[in-house]
Symmetry: C2
Subunit: 247 residues, 2 copies
């Protein structure tokens, strides 16, 4: 980061901007900005146009541009300085738009990713067991039951799976868990889709949801963790299968 010569300024001129974003009007500012940066080929250290020009070209108020840029600043994607303007501090790419914080995973690294997810999920279960209130307990059980019904009614199993895990994250009372795991898990979505579609991967874990939920509600830490470990092991085994088939 510090190797980038600060002098390399590559501002976008007005015509360029106009051409770039004229069509994408209603889009969200961050999205439009990302597109803009990508198409203009801006990289780390390069300078963005002043807020007011971005606002003008995107047909939004300066305040909205500000909020977007400040959000990026808080994420460490840009740096902002009075006279110096806004500069990129990280690469941005439109691939990240719908999975903003995605690990870009080749199939090969799925296992290692899983190894990171596993302790997090287990930790969530531990915390949830400790913190769950009676009221939340009822919610968890109800939700787990409902999701299984939805699944058995023929709905995409992933709906049930996601819903269940999110319920547990919520029960933990620490929103950061959900953030972290989502970031990691997003990478997995790649494997559900083409080209070697493994849409069933993880489906087999659904029958374990209800027992796990019951253990959490009952505050049975050890049992709950054992269930989660089993779930993680099943996923891991399936990932391995996929990888072997591939080679």
């Amino acid at each position: 980061m510090s190797k980038v010569s600060a002098s390399k300024i590559k501002p976008i001129d007005a015509e360029m901007l106009e051409h770039l974003v004229a069509s994408e009007n209603g889009r969200d500012v961050l999205e439009a900005l990302t597109l803009m940066i990508e198409r203009a080929g801006l990289g780390i250290g390069d300078r963005l146009p002043p807020e007011i020009e971005i606002a003008k070209k995107l047909n939004v108020g300066r305040s909205k541009v500000r909020e977007a840029l400040i959000a990026w600043q808080n994420m460490g994607i840009v740096t902002r300085n009075k006279k110096a303007g806004t500069r990129l501090a990280a690469e941005v790419s439109s691939n990240d738009l719908h999975m903003p914080l995605t690990l870009k995973l080749e199939a090969e690294s799925l296992l290692r990713t899983h190894a990171v997810r596993r302790p997090l999920e287990i930790e969530v279960v531990r915390v949830a067991c400790r913190n769950v209130t009676e009221q939340q307990g009822r919610v968890i059980l109800a939700r787990a039951t409902e999701l299984i019904a939805v699944y058995e009614a023929g709905e995409d199993w992933r709906t049930a799976d996601h819903g269940f895990h999110i319920t547990i994250y919520e029960a933990s009372g620490n929103p950061l868990f959900e953030q972290l795991i989502r970031q990691i898990q997003d990478g997995f979505n790649a494997i559900y889709e083409a080209p070697f579609g493994r849409a069933h991967l993880g489906q087999a874990t659904i029958p374990l949801h209800l027992p796990l939920a019951k253990a959490i509600v009952a505050g049975e830490v050890k049992i709950a963790i054992a269930y989660m470990e089993q779930i993680m092991d099943m996923v891991e085994a399936e990932v391995r299968e996929v990888m072997e088939e591939q080679s």
Copy 2:
């Protein structure tokens, strides 16, 4: 903490607010807000006053309050809804002021947090070994050497430590690693400060930085990972020490 029922609305009335923040005027908005929330005893699910009132009582513009609240929203600390207003989604405490994305850790859970950080750091090393280019290699070595010099010149060791790890994250070419680890690591900052100040924790790992950097640049995966494991082990051992002292 999670015992708060979502229906329990505890708005702050005008006099209360006035009394709370009248004196702390020039302060930063987030700081003042935090103080406000803390002193009013607001917890998860509780409602904050409308932007405009906060602005009035803090003697700042609504835009500034908005930016602060939006920043918190992006961090998952508050939720915002049109009619419903802004509600706390996480505990805030004036201890967290300088570590915005903090995992709130009791000393007891530091070890588990460390267990999550460890595989991530190791994974970064693995990826960095694979991806490092010749040019980056030079940068890494130069930077590592420079940082050690800075450290030996009497600078706070954490400057050198952070700088080094960040260099490796960058070398991995995957910006997500830095994000994830930062989020996790932020929680650790608590241990550096009061009340049981462990400002030296981790300092002993600095001599390992240069050898590790050399291994990465040389593409020696096994050796590099071994160094990182050693670093992680040292940190873990020190955390254990602290915990034992505490009990």
